[in-house]
C-alpha cells in the first residue's frame, strides 16, 4: 500500500496529505466544540446540550438516546446551521480582507498538522520505529512555530477589516499578545533540543527525534521531559494558552468587554471557520506539548512503545501508538477547557506584564540554566 502511494504523482500525494489533514482536523475541531459545551456544562452542574435528535439515528435503541444525551446531534445541527445561514456582510467592512481573514485563520492551522507525527509504527525492514507523519521535515518544531504564528494575521485582518471598534481592539490585542508570548514559547523549547541533540555536526529539530530521545533506556533516557525540565514545560504550557487565545488569555475575544472581539462582525460559516481554526490550533498545540514533554506515543515514563509493538502487525502497532498519543493530546484539549471554566480572564495589562516582565525573563533564565546544566552533564 505504501508502494502504491509512493508510485502516485507527487501532486496526488500532496492532495492526499492535504485531505488527511483536513479530514482529521475538522472533525476534531467539531468534536472539540461539542466537548467544550459539554465540559462547561458539567463543570457548571448542567447537563449541557441534550435536546436535538436526528430523525434516523436518534431512534436507534440505547445508542440513539446516548448520542442525544451527549448532544452529538447538536453538533450536526450547528454545523448545518452554519452552512445554511444567511451570509450577512456588514456594509462598513473591507470586503476583501473580511472574507480573507477566516481563510487565513484556517490554512496555517491545517498546514502545521503535516509536520506533527501522530504515532509511530515498527518498520520491520529497518527494525526501527518510523513516525506516522505527513511530512517528516528536519525543522519540525520551527515549522510548527512559523506557520502557527501566521494565524495571528487572521485576527489582525478580521479586526481591521471589520472596520468597527471592538473587533479592531480585539485584533490589536491579538497581535500584541501573540508576539509577546511567542518569544517565551520559542525560548522554552530550546533546552529540549539542546538535550536532544548530541554534540557533533548533525543536529535536528524534528519532533520525532524528541520523542525518540524520551524512549531511551536508563534513568534520564526514559524520563519524559516534563519531569526532566519542568520549568520548560511550564513556560511552554502558559505560552501555549496565550498563543491559542484560550482562557485566561482570552484577550482577542473577551466577550465581557469587547462583545465578541475580532469576530464581532462575523457570522454564519465565516464565524465557524474561526472556531474550527481555534480548535485546530488547540489540537496542534496539545499534540506538540505531548511530543515535547510527555513522551509522545510512549505509554508511560520509562516504558517505551517500541518493545510493546515489535511483535504486533504493523497496522495494529501503528494504531496503538497513535492511540496513546491521541489519548494524551485529548487530555490536553480537555485541560484547555478545564482551565477555561476554572480561571477568570486576565486584564489586558496583566497579560502584557506577565508576558514581558515575568515569563520572558523566566524563559531566558531557564535557557541559560539548562544550557549550563546540559553542558556540565555532557562534559562529565
Amino acid at each position: 500500500m505504501i508502494d502504491l502511494y509512493l508510485s502516485l504523482p507527487i501532486w496526488v500525494q500532496a492532495a492526499i496529505k492535504g485531505l488527511i489533514a483536513i479530514g482529521f482536523l475538522i472533525p476534531v475541531a467539531g468534536a472539540c466544540s461539542l466537548a467544550e459545551r459539554k465540559v462547561s456544562a458539567w463543570i457548571q452542574g448542567r447537563p449541557g446540550p441534550n435536546r436535538a435528535r436526528a430523525w434516523g439515528l436518534g431512534y436507534i435503541p440505547i445508542l440513539g438516546p446516548i448520542l442525544q444525551r451527549l448532544g452529538v446531534f447538536h453538533l450536526m445541527a450547528d454545523g448545518a446551521k452554519f452552512v445554511f445561514k444567511e451570509d450577512v456582510v456588514p456594509g462598513h467592512v473591507n470586503k476583501f480582507y473580511y472574507y480573507l481573514a477566516p481563510l487565513v485563520a484556517l490554512v496555517p492551522s491545517l498546514c502545521t498538522v503535516v509536520v506533527v507525527p501522530f504515532g509511530a509504527y515498527f518498520d520491520a525492514a529497518s527494525e526501527t520505529l518510523k513516525p506516522l507523519i505527513l511530512a517528516d521535515v528536519d525543522v519540525g518544531i520551527l515549522a510548527v512555530f512559523a506557520i502557527g504564528s501566521l494565524s495571528v494575521y487572521a485576527l489582525i485582518l478580521a479586526g481591521w477589516a471589520s472596520n468597527s471598534k471592538y473587533p479592531f481592539l480585539g485584533g490589536v490585542r491579538a497581535s500584541a499578545q501573540l508576539i509577546s508570548y511567542e518569544l517565551s514559547m520559542t525560548l522554552s523549547v530550546i533546552p529540549v533540543f539542546l538535550w536532544v541533540n548530541a554534540p557533533g555536526p548533525e543536529a535536528t529539530l524534528s519532533l520525532f527525534a524528541v520523542v525518540e530521545s524520551q524512549s531511551q533506556a536508563g534513568l534520564f533516557g526514559g524520563m519524559w521531559f516534563v519531569f526532566l525540565m519542568p520549568m520548560c514545560a511550564f513556560i511552554f504550557l502558559v505560552s501555549l494558552f496565550a498563543e491559542t487565545n484560550r482562557q485566561p488569555f482570552d484577550m482577542p475575544e473577551s466577550e465581557a468587554d469587547l462583545v465578541g472581539g475580532f469576530h464581532t462582525e462575523y457570522g454564519e460559516f465565516k464565524w465557524s471557520i474561526f472556531f474550527v481554526a481555534e480548535y485546530a490550533h488547540m489540537t496542534i498545540g496539545s499534540a506538540v506539548f505531548v511530543l515535547l514533554f510527555l513522551g509522545g506515543w510512549n505509554p508511560l515514563p520509562w516504558v517505551p512503545l517500541e518493545p510493546l509493538i515489535a511483535g504486533l502487525p504493523v497496522w495494529l502497532g501503528g494504531l496503538l501508538g497513535a492511540a496513546f498519543f491521541l489519548g494524551k493530546t485529548f487530555f490536553f484539549i480537555f485541560l484547555f477547557m478545564w482551565v477555561r471554566w476554572t480561571l477568570p480572564r486576565f486584564r489586558y495589562d496583566q497579560v502584557m506584564r506577565l508576558g514581558w516582565q515575568k515569563l520572558l525573563p523566566l524563559a531566558i533564565a531557564n535557557v541559560i540554566f539548562y544550557a549550563l546544566a546540559i553542558a556540565v552533564i555532557e562534559r562529565s
Binding site: W11, L150, Y153, I156, I179
Partner: protein, 172 residues
Amino acid sequence: MADILFYIFAAMTIGSAVAVVINPNAVNSALAFLVGLLGVSGLFVLLDSFLLAVLMILVYAGAVVALFLFIIMLLDMQGGERKPFSRPTAVAGFIGAALLAVCATSLLQGIGALETAEAGSAIGVGANLKHYADQLFTTYLLPVQVVGFLLLIAMLGVIVLSKKFEGLEDIK
C-alpha cells in the same frame, strides 16, 4: 515540477514586492510584503533550505510583519498627501536611479561570471541548523552584530519619525 513552482514563487515574490511599493494603502502594502516573504520562503524550500524558509516566516512574516501591521493600524495612517518635488528629493532620486543603474549593469555583466558551488559538494548555508549556527557565531559574527545595531537604529528612527511632538512646538 520544481521549475513550475520556482516560477510561481518568483512571480509571487516580485509581484508582491512591486505591490508593496506602489500600493497607496499601508495595510495592503504590509500584506503584500507578507505574501512576498512567503514567496521567498517558498524559494528557499525549493533550494532545500528548510531552515531558512522556516526562519523567514517565523522571524519576518510571523513577528516583524505582525508588529508592522500593528503599528500601521494604531498610527491611523491616512493616505499621505503627495508633496511637490523639492530640490533635495530630485537629487536623491537621481542618485538612487544612478545606483540602480550601476547595480543592474554589474549584474548583467556578471551573468555566468559568478562561480557556482559544485552541486552536492557542500551543504548550502542555512540548510543545516548546526552548520548555520556555526557560521553565524564565527564567520559572520561581526556582520550580524552590525546589522542588529543598524536595526536598532532604524527602530529608533521610526519611533522618532512617527511620534507626533504635540505641544513641543515652542521648544523646536
